[in-house]
């Protein structure tokens, strides 16, 4: 596959993790996340163990920590919600740094923060080692409904086209002296968004016409014959199995 034109999340490489078929990786990440979510929040050490497991996978994939950490910043808005919880939750209160915080709220915040961060980290790791196109093919191999795969694949194909159109509309606005300074200008922006929506809708119709002209009847045939070997499946399963052991230990020691 051509390098250099990949998505911003992806980092080109040839590690064992990169080489795994996409569907095994998706299944592994999903199983890992479910295991993490099923872990009792009081078993704090378990979350450290999960983090170590992910760090091991990251080391194996040779994706630099900086690449992963900067992309994990996507989580920040969700963290804000978690931070609020100790202030708004009910129950017995504890004194922390001179503030009276809800104990259950603190546990809740920890729960969201730890599990969320691990989930984001696992997903970023998947996206860094798997091309976007491969992820879609992987989902298809995992029997995700073809219509959803088609919609996602159109989103990827036309995202740039629509962003381009948006950029041209912005240039046209600016060229005629428009600057968005405040609420008064929102009307113009809303109309631009409306025009963009209609253009996109019409493009959708034209694309459909072009598809029907080439014999489209509802399914996109793919000449995809990638199958994972038993060895590849077991390699991919290493992460969720290790996580499962940690999870069971977590329940055991509770």
């Amino acid at each position: 596959m051509g390098a250099g034109h990949a998505h911003r999340l992806y980092r080109h490489g040839h590690s064992p993790v990169h080489r795994l078929p996409a569907h095994t990786k998706i299944a592994a990440v999903l199983a890992f996340v479910l295991t993490v979510v099923a872990t009792p929040r009081e078993a704090t050490w378990a979350f450290g163990a999960y983090a170590l497991l992910l760090a091991a996978v990251a080391a194996l994939s040779r994706v630099p920590a900086r690449h992963l950490l900067t992309r994990m910043l996507i989580e920040v808005p969700f963290v804000a919600l978690a931070v609020l919880m100790p202030f708004v939750a009910e129950g017995p209160y504890v004194e922390v740094l001179g503030m009276s915080l809800s104990e259950s709220g603190l546990w809740g915040a920890w729960n969201v923060l730890a599990k969320g961060t691990l989930g984001v980290a696992a997903s970023v790791l998947l996206a860094s080692t798997t091309e976007l196109r491969e992820i879609l093919l992987g989902l298809q191999r995992l029997r995700m409904p073809p219509l959803l795969v088609q919609i996602a694949s159109f989103m990827i194909r036309y995202g740039d086209v629509i962003a381009d159109e948006m950029r041209r509309m912005r240039l046209a606005r600016v060229s005629r002296g428009f600057t968005a300074r405040g609420v008064r200008q929102w009307g113009v922006l809303a109309k631009t968004a409306g025009a963009l929506f209609i253009r996109t809708y019409e493009r959708g119709e034209r694309v459909h016409l072009a598809m029907v002209s080439r014999g489209y009847t509802g399914t996109v045939p793919t000449a995809d014959e990638t199958a994972a070997t038993r060895a590849q499946w077991s390699f991919a399963a290493a992460l969720p199995l290790a996580a499962l052991a940690v999870c069971l230990m977590g329940w055991w020691t509770l």
Binding site: R157, L209, A210, V220
Partner: protein, 284 residues
């Protein structure tokens, strides 16, 4: 005004090239049916607007024909009838002997394989993540798989000189390259007739010339919808003018372009300084 329809009838002449195409005609019949035979085609849109009023058009195998006409003359409506996307009006369309019949799904699928439409905006035509997958889309819909499919994709990309771009996403190609890939997506279905909607629009002069070279090199019937009259003259020995929903003129491209009354009547204008008499006649 010359009545070009009766003045010359290119159907009386043999096709410009000896066509011996084993792909489309394995039996090698002496007189293959015309690639396209439209007769009495009339159509009104559901909102009542009538676009076609009885179109008769025959295109012999191997011919290259330009379809000229001002905006709103019904060119797009006619094109969408050729592969059965629009149906329901009067008249008939026959593609290499197979009648377009919306109630016969198998026949319709075969018609869509035989009529390859290249739409004006390549971004509408190229909807798959990579060039290779897009070119494979059509033949895969006809049931091709595996090595056969890969060979077909390679063949089609080679015809337009885009083999090395097979794994690129379409939006990383130049406009001219995208237009060429759009042609390849249709060639991959080994069509009987290639229908091009404004093939030279938005192309820079070099891409325009390259595309002309590609179209000339193809061994396929071509119907080219265009406003680019010099391009029509360069590529198509024969032209038809669609005006107000009927074929208003049909004849050698140069004769039509030199008929000032006809041109004026259909809002067709040559570019400034262009004299169709001063260029060598198109050769097939």
């Amino acid at each position: 005004m010359v009545d070009a329809v009766t003045a010359t009838d290119p159907r009386d002449e043999p096709p410009n090239e000896p066509v011996n195409d084993p792909r489309t005609d394995p039996r090698g019949e002496p007189a293959p049916p015309p690639s396209l035979d439209v007769s009495g085609l009339a159509y009104a849109y559901p909102d009542g607007h009538q676009a076609l009023f009885g179109v008769d058009l025959t295109v012999a195998r191997g011919e290259r024909v330009a379809l000229l006409g001002p905006n709103g003359a019904g060119k797009t409506t006619l094109v969408l009838h050729l592969n059965g996307i629009l149906t329901g009006g009067a008249g008939s369309v026959t593609v290499a002997g197979l009648r377009v019949d919306p109630s016969d799904r198998a026949a319709l699928a075969e018609v869509r394989r035989r009529v390859g439409i290249v739409f004006q905006d390549p971004d509408d035509q190229l909807f798959m993540p990579t060039v290779r997958e897009d070119v494979a889309f059509g033949p895969a819909n006809t049931g091709l798989r595996g090595a056969e499919l890969a060979a077909r994709v390679h063949e089609a990309l080679a015809l337009v000189g885009m083999e090395e771009y097979a794994d690129r996403p379409p939006h990383h190609l130049s406009f001219g390259q995208r237009r060429r890939v759009a042609v390849a997506t249709v060639l991959a279905m080994r069509p009987e007739i290639l229908v091009l909607d404004e093939p030279s629009s938005n192309l820079d002069p070099a891409s325009r010339r390259e595309l002309a070279g590609i179209l000339r090199s193809l061994d396929v019937t071509v119907l080219m919808v265009t406003h680019d009259l010099p391009y029509a003259l360069e590529l198509c020995p024969r032209s038809v003018v669609l005006g107000e929903g009927v074929i208003a003129a049909d004849g050698p491209t140069r004769d039509l372009l030199c008929d000032e009354a006809l041109m004026r009547a259909h809002r067709l204008e040559l570019p400034f300084g262009f004299d169709p008499r001063s260029v060598p006649p198109p050769h097939a």
